[in-house]
Symmetry: D2
Subunit: 283 residues, 4 copies
């Protein structure tokens, strides 16, 4: 498989940006495979370009130098990724297995462009689920007293394994600001409600009490404020008065795993840009 | 069309209730067209029976007398309706026309078993929308000072027209406890968010600010507490970062009218029972 | 409201097309409001550009001349539209009113950028539905013998009113190849099944007989072969064993009107390109 | 967990059936946990009763004798199952793993009331997927010449393991009439299209060629005619012009596994009755 490039850009909107960017690519003999663009209400320009690697005239170590003047002129934030260098993704879990199993199955099926150097858990239960795919499982148990210490170990592990993306696949611990600050826009959580409804603990029980007729799940980037980060994807299912809390948990699992998997996939394919507390998703 | 009967029952659960009820019907030569039953977590038994009118041995004025002893023995709350006596439904609107037009079209198409003796509004704008279907339109303008007075006029109108069901089809006024108390479990409102998210004013703007990826609508019975009554139906649509607040308003209209129409239909067909702050819906 | 431009292009794919097009716009001081692009499996490049009218350096009558050399060099099929010149849309109906009412309501609400110079029907029933919005209604009755003649009259009416788009809103007549040939890619039909299932007559009855658990609707461009043209949009709803054919008709109406309205909206906003027997839809 | 009973009945409709059935249960001190009933267009009465085992006055070996006279009088087809005796389910697979993995995960999570004595495949690939859950995997390879022989081996294995339900989880072989006849109404297949569209081979490729905007999956009971048996459940997902055949395969997997799992669940919970070529599903 040949290697393609993905260029993500955001900058203040002005005339001629698409021309400038596409001409830069054309000048270096690049073939644009796909182009998506969006201008937010607040006047920020976002663009995602996928460029064919074959025939592109800029070598990997030449791109930044060649692109810098253009980027500087337009105040661009930008990042480049190469499809032959998948992101390194760590999965953090506790005891619920559905999101983990689903992510690993998709990864094994080739749906997720990632390396998964490790799975980390505060419980030992799911070790075999990771190991069947040959992925090392790290059990770092946790008590109230050892929480700070355990989290430090986790962060060290992530650093050691050069992790790019942290996926909280029903990880039942609230991360400290330090952890969150170490991976800005690179921690994805799945919350088992359609946010902003039922943020916080025990959403299915609260949904049942309120008597809602749909339940949902929300994948979002983690920020310091609990369940308040930029939303990447949401979906819901219909429920009825017959559904007990246990039924909500069961049908909710299906939405959770689907919503999380899609958010992770989009992140791995560089389809998401953060715009304040909102996300731009180039599907 | 022959007249069928619908019997709605709730009572403390115990053994033999279905046998007692269906035997009562059989004893009077009744044919059960459909039977739905549910027992809530808290041990309340709910049942809906649809009985063929033709051949049923109890005359209309005999039913209550014949049924009373059974109902008393089991502490039943019950109500009976006849399909040849559609409910009398009033629609209250302000300026948005989509829910009104949709309800009237469905009514005209035979989807809604109701008489609509009147449409009431605090604005004159939608008069022609009601009048094209031959339905009287009452314009009762409203200022801060005249609110109490206007509401009294509305309630009087509803009484005068022997209204059974009040539908708030995007009626932009909060009802007083007096109004609400006069029609318990008989006022249906459509709220333009998936409750409990974005209760109160301006949900689309707030949804846009929060960056949600689904918006929704909720039909619920009105109680004293704003947007907190028993939910009848909810649905959502997916939105993206490209959708402006105006786009949310536009696609939201589609969900609002659909969700409201379905809730109204269920109510008119006696498919809804209230269970505390939840609804039992026998679809 | 200022006038913007929409440029739709298709041509053989090659390197540098986006650069060429966006540079052409930039050269004439144009601001690109949105850009969508797609390359099909067969190597055709499709693009939709929305350009701000204000500040654009090419006058309306200058564009073609300025753009021609570029278009020629790349073998482009292209068309340009201006947002201040809405398309002229005719609606053809028979007796079912739901699609007509829905389209007219949306048009009245500002959802559809169109002029509607006329509604044509082979039945008189829906005249008042058009006339409430001030739209002329033409009743052209039809018998087996007069079919050819009536259709000619319809086509003449459409020509006379300079119609750009013909919408068959449950028009229960099969158009002749002559009619279809007069409006290639400009006749939208709503078929009441999820094509290719249940093409042809009586899809709801056949769906009921087959015992399907979802029914749907399909909006497509009309071609000579019945129900076989390029599909623009489809959607479905779940049904159960309890749903009679009449129930399918009722819930189907809801999908039909929604699917048709969306397809019409996309066409009016120049979001659809035809790619053989498939459509490219830039939502 | 106590053992409850599920009674499924179908018979010609007449007055008094619900009374007769519920009185029979009440007479033996039974508590009805749930009751669902339906009368088809053709006048067949269907009922599902769930009866609390605790306190029920008929011992397991007494039920048939006590119920026979009532059943005979009303020409009832009936079957009884006990929740402490889960059905024995065999899963047949070829090489695609998604349906198998999903079923096994759900089974392990307690979503599926079944014993799974074996997984059978004509390929060795998925052995580890079954074995991780401790389920014996039988590899019975197959050539054109050995097909009859292999199938006989499969049927013998199923008999030997007293299998009640056969699930074809993307099993890429057409069963012979003999096999099908041995398990009437007890073989569930997942077909990767929304039937009746794209019955037969290669539905995703054909869907792509036709340019549909939704793809789906259908779970149905297997009958002699290919992909023509009674439909249990169907669902769809939206796709766009950007989706290649490979993308359809990928998103299709998600619908397939979800639709199959739901159908299997309903069957295991005795929620499905066959009504000619349609199914009655008491959700």
């Amino acid at each position: 498989m040949s290697c393609n490039l993905r260029l993500l850009i955001s900058c203040p909107d002005r005339k001629g940006l698409i021309a400038a960017l596409s001409s830069f690519i054309a000048m270096h003999d690049g073939n644009i495979l796909s182009a998506d663009q969006y201008v937010s209400d607040s006047g920020t320009f976002f663009m995602r370009l996928e460029i064919e690697g074959e025939g592109f005239g800029l070598a990997r170590d030449e791109f930044a130098g060649a692109f810098a003047p253009l980027a500087r002129r337009h105040d661009m934030d930008w990042r480049l990724s190469h499809t032959d260098t998948p992101k390194r993704m760590a999965i953090l879990v506790s005891r619920y297995d559905h999101c983990l199993i689903d992510l690993l199955w998709r990864w094994d099926s080739g749906e997720l462009e990632a390396e998964i150097p490790l799975v980390v858990s505060n419980h030992p239960d799911l070790a075999s689920r990771a190991e069947i795919y040959g992925i090392p499982f790290h059990h770092l148990p946790l008590t109230k007293e050892t929480k700070a210490e355990q989290e430090e170990k986790v962060v060290n592990l992530l650093r050691e394994h050069k992790v790019d993306l942290v996926v909280l696949a029903r990880y039942m611990q609230i991360l400290t600001p330090t952890f969150v600050g170490a991976y800005p826009g690179r921690i994805i959580n799945i919350h088992h409600s359609f946010l902003p409804a039922f943020a916080g603990a025990d959403p299915y029980r609260r949904a049942h009490e309120r008597g809602v007729k749909t339940i949902g799940a929300t994948a979002h980037y983690v920020t310091e404020e609990l369940d308040a980060g930029p939303i990447i994807h949401q979906d819901v299912v219909h429920v009825t008065h017959r559904d007990t809390v246990e039924d909500l948990v069961r049908v909710g699992r299906e939405v959770e795993r689907r919503v999380l998997a899609r958010a992770v996939r989009w992140h791995l394919e560089d389809r998401i840009l953060v715009d304040g507390n909102r996300t731009v998703v180039f599907e």
